[in-house]
C-alpha cells in the first residue's frame, strides 16, 4: 500500500527472519505509515523492533504498540506544528511533545494489555528469568523505535535504540542521526527503559529535504556483507524509483526484504519515504538554522540549555534496579562503529548530537550493561554555573506538598507544586500552574501529571525527567527571547539561552504544606529579594536568611503574593544586572 501526504509518499513492509522461522518466534518487528491532512499535510512513519531475548516474551506486541502510538503522536505534532518553519523551535519541542508522550502512551498500552492478558505460565517459563514478569511488565514488551515526521518543509527524526535512518539525495546516502556509541555488542536502548525519553536521539531536517528516507530495523543493515550498504542502496534504489516509481518498490519490497531476512536471520522492516517533488528547488535556510543550533547546544554555561536537547545520559543514577540498556538481539548491531558511509555536504539540519557536549559539561559515564546487572551510577551534570549548589548541597525534597519548580519566560512565571490531596508514597499528582503574562489577568491553568522521585530526579509520565536540583524551563514564546530558569528550591536563576550568561538570581523561600493562612496558598513559593552570587555585586537589599533547615530537611515555603504574575519580583534582579 502506498500512503501519500503532502510532498511525501511512502510504502512499507516487514518480513520475519529466517532464524525466527526456525525457532518458532514471531516477527518481532512492526512498521506503520500514516498520512496527515490539514493545512500542513505530510506523513508519519515508524519502525519498531521488539527485543529478541527470552525475557521479552511479548516484544512483538510491544513493537506493534510502538508504531501505533508513535504514528498517533507524530500525526498530532504535525497537525499542530506543520506550518512552522522554525527548525530550532520545533527541535526544542520534540522531546517534550513527541518522545515523552510516545513513551508514556506506550507504557499505558502495555499496562492495559497486561491487565487484560496476565502473563501465562508458558510465558513465564520461556522468559527464563528468576524475576517476576509482573514486577516490570514493560520489559517483556521492550522494543526500539525509529520515527520520521515528514511535514511540508521539515522532517523530524526520532530514534530510541538500534535500527537505521538513511537519507538519500541523488546517488548520495547519509546517516542523519547522531551516533549513540553505547549501542554495541547487541545492546540497545529501549522504549521499556525508564531512561527512554532521555535516550532518544533527535534530528531535524530542513530544506533541501532528502529525496528518499529509509527507516529500517537493524536486521536490514546486518544482512549486508559490505559496511557501505547505504551508498549501494542509494545508487540502486534511486534509479529504480526514478525509472519505475514507488509502485514498483511497493510490489517488490517484500521480496527484497525477504532476501535480507533469509541471509541475516533477523526480522527485517522498512518504511520507504519518497519526496514527490524531488525536482523542486529548495529554500536556502540551512546556514541560519545551523548557526543557531550551534549556539544553542554549546552554551558557555553548559548543561542548563543543552540538557534539554540531548539524551539525559548522565541521569541514570536512579536505575539501580533496572538495566540501563537492554540486550536486544532481535536486532543486534547498530552502526555505532561504521558511522556515516558517505560524506555529504552538510544540509540544513539542527544537529542535536548526544555525543557532542559543551566544554563545561562533565562527560557522562556511558552505562551499558546486560539485563539483571545494575549499571554503574553516573553523576548528574546539571549544575548550570560552577558556583551553584551541587547535588550534594540540594535539600531533601518533601514530595507530600512541596513546590518543586519555578520557571518561565520574561513576564511569565510558572510554578510547579504537588497536590497534597492525592498523597501517595511514591507517586502522585503534580499540579502545574501556568501564570499568564502580567498584561493579562492571571489565569492559573492547572495541569496534572503523574510524577515520582527517583534519587536525584523528578520524573513525570508525560514530560522529560528533571533533576531535582534544578528545573530547566524554556519559554514557549517564539516571538521574544526565551530565558532559561533553574532552581534548586533555594535560589532561582535565569540564564540567557544564547550566551549562557547568568542574568539574575533570587532566593526562594517557601513553606511546607501546613497552611500559613486561609487566604494564602501554602504551596506556592515566594520569590523575594535577590541573593548574592559568590563573586557577584551586592544588591541594595540584603538577602533574606535562607530558611533551609541546617539538617538539609525540606525547604519551607511561605505564601506567595498574587503579584507573582507580574515580572517585577522575578525580573527585578534581571533589571539590576541587565
Amino acid at each position: 500500500m502506498i500512503v501519500s501526504g503532502g510532498r511525501w509518499e511512502a510504502t512499507s513492509s516487514s518480513v520475519r527472519g529466517s532464524a525466527h522461522e526456525r525457532d518458532g518466534r514471531p516477527n518481532q518487528d512492526s512498521v506503520r505509515v500514516v498520512d496527515v491532512g490539514g493545512s500542513a499535510p505530510g506523513l508519519v512513519a515508524a519502525v519498531c523492533d521488539g527485543h529478541g531475548g527470552d525475557r521479552y516474551v511479548r516484544s512483538d506486541v510491544g513493537s506493534r504498540f510502538g508504531t501505533e502510538v508513535a504514528c498517533e503522536v507524530g500525526r498530532r505534532f504535525l497537525a499542530a506544528f506543520g506550518d512552522s518553519s522554525d527548525l530550532l523551535e520545533l527541535g526544542s519541542r520534540i522531546r517534550e511533545r513527541v518522545v515523552a508522550p510516545i513513551v508514556a502512551r506506550w507504557g499505558e498500552r502495555v499496562m492495559d494489555d497486561v491487565m487484560a492478558r496476565p502473563f501465562a505460565d508458558d510465558e513465564r517459563t520461556r522468559a527464563r528469568t528468576r524475576a517476576n514478569l509482573d514486577d516490570e511488565p514493560k520489559i517483556s514488551y521492550g522494543c526500539t523505535l525509529v520515527l520520521a515526521i515528514a511535514g511540508p518543509n521539515w522532517v523530524a527524526l526520532v530514534q530510541i535504540g538500534d535500527g537505521d535512518i538513511t537519507a538519500v539525495d541523488g546517488s548520495q546516502a547519509r546517516a542523519p542521526m547522531p551516533v549513540d556509541d553505547r549501542l554495541v555488542g547487541g545492546e540497545t536502548t529501549s522504549l521499556c527503559l525508564p531512561t527512554a525519553v532521555g535516550d532518544a536521539r533527535i534530528e531535524m531536517l530542513g530544506e533541501p529535504l532528502p529525496e528518499i528516507l529509509l527507516l529500517t530495523s537493524d536486521g536490514y543493515a546486518n544482512s549486508f556483507a559490505s559496511p557501505t550498504w547505504r551508498s549501494d542502496i542509494a545508487t540502486d534504489l534511486g534509479r529504480q524509483l526514478d525509472d519505475f516509481g514507488l509502485e514498483h518498490a511497493e510490489t517488490h519490497l517484500p521480496a527484497w526484504l525477504s532476501e535480507s531476512a533469509r541471509a541475516g536471520g533477523d526480522d527485517v522492516s522498512m518504511a520507504l519515504i519518497r519526496r514527490r517533488d524531488a525536482d523542486a528547488a529548495p529554500a536556502a535556510v540551512g546556514a541560519a538554522m545551523r548557526s543557531q543550533s550551534e549556539l544553542l547546544v554549546h552554551p558557555r554555561s553548559g548543561a542548563s540549555i543543552s540538557g534539554l536537547q540531548r539524551p539525559h545520559r548522565s541521569r541514570t543514577a536512579w536505575l539501580a534496579a533496572l538495566p540501563a540498556l537492554i540486550i536486544g538481539l532481535g536486532g543486534g548491531w547498530v552502526l555505532g562503529h561504521s558511522g556515516r558511509d558517505v560524506t555529504d555536504p552538510p544540509s540544513a539540519s539542527t544537529a542535536l548530537d548526544p555525543t557532542s557536549a559543551p566544554e563545561t559539561e562533565p562527560t557522562p559515564t556511558t552505562v551499558a550493561s546486560p539485563p539483571a546487572t545494575a549499571p554503574s551510577a553516573t553523576p548528574a551534570s546539571t549544575v548550570p554555573v560552577s558556583s551553584a549548589p551541587t547535588a550534594t548541597d540540594a535539600p531533601a525534597l518533601d514530595p507530600s506538598g512541596q513546590p518543586v519548580a519555578l520557571g518561565g519566560t520574561a513576564g511569565v512565571a510558572w510554578v510547579l507544586w504537588f497536590d497534597p490531596s492525592v498523597p501517595q508514597p511514591s507517586s502522585g499528582e503534580v499540579t502545574f500552574v501556568q501564570e499568564v503574562r502580567s498584561s493579562q489577568p492571571a489565569l492559573p491553568l492547572r495541569l496534572t501529571a503523574l510524577w515520582r522521585f527517583d534519587g536525584a530526579q523528578l520524573c513525570f509520565a508525560s514530560l522529560p525527567c528533571f533533576p531535582a536540583i534544578g528545573v530547566l524551563w524554556p519559554g514557549e514564546s517564539p516571538s521574544e527571547p526565551d530565558l532559561v530558569w533553574a532552581t534548586d528550591l533555594r535560589v532561582l536563576r535565569s540564564f540567557d539561552p544564547a550566551s549562557g550568561d547568568l542574568l539574575g538570581c533570587a532566593v526562594v523561600i517557601g513553606s511546607t504544606n501546613e497552611s500559613g493562612g486561609a487566604e494564602s496558598d501554602p504551596l506556592v513559593p515566594q520569590v523575594t529579594t535577590p541573593a548574592t552570587e559568590p563573586g557577584g555585586d551586592q544588591p541594595e537589599a540584603s538577602a533574606p536568611e535562607n530558611t533551609t533547615p541546617a539538617d538539609g530537611g525540606p525547604v519551607t515555603c511561605e505564601p506567595v503574593p498574587t503579584d507573582i504574575t507580574t515580572p517585577a519580583l522575578i525580573t527585578a534582579p534581571l533589571e539590576e544586572n541587565g
Binding site: 532464524a19 549486508f224 540502486d236 541475516g264 540486550i327 551499558a368
Partner: protein, 225 residues
C-alpha cells in the same frame, strides 16, 4: 527490473574462539592429547550447527596460553574448512596474557560491526600463574566480551573452577569439570556446540543453560585426572 537494490547479502559472522591451556601440567596423564582429540571430534558437530543456522557463518580462531599467549589459529577459519593442528604443552599458565590477546579481537577492525556476539570456550587444567584479573576486567569491558556466549571446561581435579566461573556467561551452569579423556571429549563437544548454538540464535545467551546429560558426565574410564 526486479533486482534487489543494494549489495550482497550474507550470513553474519560468528567468531568461535578456543582459548586453550598449554601449560606443562597438560603434558601429564595425556591431558593435552585428550584435548587435541576432543577438538577434532568437536569440529563435525560445529559444522552441523553451522548448517542448521545458515544465517551464521561460523569462523574459528584459537589461542594457546602457557608462558605468555600466542595464536594457534590466528586467521578466522570457516569451520567447514578447519583442520585441527595439535597443541603442545610447556611452560606456565598465563591466562591473563590469553585474555589480553583476545580482548582487542572483539571490536573493530578485527570483528565486523554486523557480527553476531562471539562464542568463546576456555579450557584449563590449573590455576593461572599471572595476574589475570585485570585482563579479565578488560575483556569484560568489551561489549562483545560481555555479550559473548562464554563456556569453560576444567580438566582434572587441579583445575581452578572458581576462576573459570568468573569467565563464563552463566557461572552456575557454564563450567564443566572433566576428570577423564572421555568426559573431556564430550564436554568440549557439548560446550562448543552449545556456545555456538546460543550465539547464533539472535538472542542473548540464556541464563538457563540446558544441562549435560548424565551420560555426558559419568563416562567410565580407567584414567582419572
Amino acid at each position: 527490473m526486479t533486482e534487489r537494490p543494494g549489495s550482497t547479502v550474507a550470513a553474519r559472522p560468528l567468531h568461535f574462539f578456543i582459548v586453550a591451556d598449554c601449560s606443562g601440567s597438560m603434558a601429564s596423564d595425556g591431558k593435552m592429547q585428550a584435548l587435541n582429540n576432543a577438538m577434532r571430534e568437536t569440529i563435525p558437530h560445529l559444522v552441523e550447527i553451522a548448517s542448521l543456522n545458515p544465517h551464521a557463518a561460523v569462523m574459528v580462531r584459537a589461542i594457546a596460553f602457557s608462558t605468555g599467549a600466542r595464536w594457534h589459529i590466528e586467521q578466522a577459519t570457516p569451520v567447514e574448512r578447519l583442520v585441527w593442528r595439535d597443541l603442545a604443552p610447556e611452560g606456565y599458565t598465563d591466562l591473563g596474557a590469553a585474555l589480553d590477546l583476545l580482548a582487542p579481537q572483539l571490536g573493530p577492525p578485527h570483528m565486523e560491526a554486523r557480527a553476531l556476539p562471539p562464542a568463546i570456550l576456555l579450557v584449563s587444567d590449573g590455576m593461572p600463574t599471572d595476574d589475570y584479573r585485570p585482563a579479565l576486567a578488560r575483556f569484560l569491558d568489551e561489549p562483545m566480551g560481555r555479550a559473548a556466549a562464554r563456556m569453560a571446561v576444567g580438566i582434572g581435579r587441579d583445575a581452578d573452577l572458581e576462576v573459570l566461573e568468573r569467565f563464563v556467561s552463566s557461572p552456575d551452569q557454564g563450567v564443566f569439570n572433566a576428570n577423564n579423556p572421555e568426559q573431556l571429549v564430550r564436554m568440549i563437544r557439548w560446550a562448543s556446540s552449545h556456545a555456538s548454538r546460543v550465539a547464533s540464535t539472535l538472542a542473548p545467551p540464556s541464563r538457563a543453560v540446558a544441562a549435560l546429560s548424565a551420560d555426558d558426565v559419568s563416562s567410565p574410564s580407567e584414567l582419572i585426572w
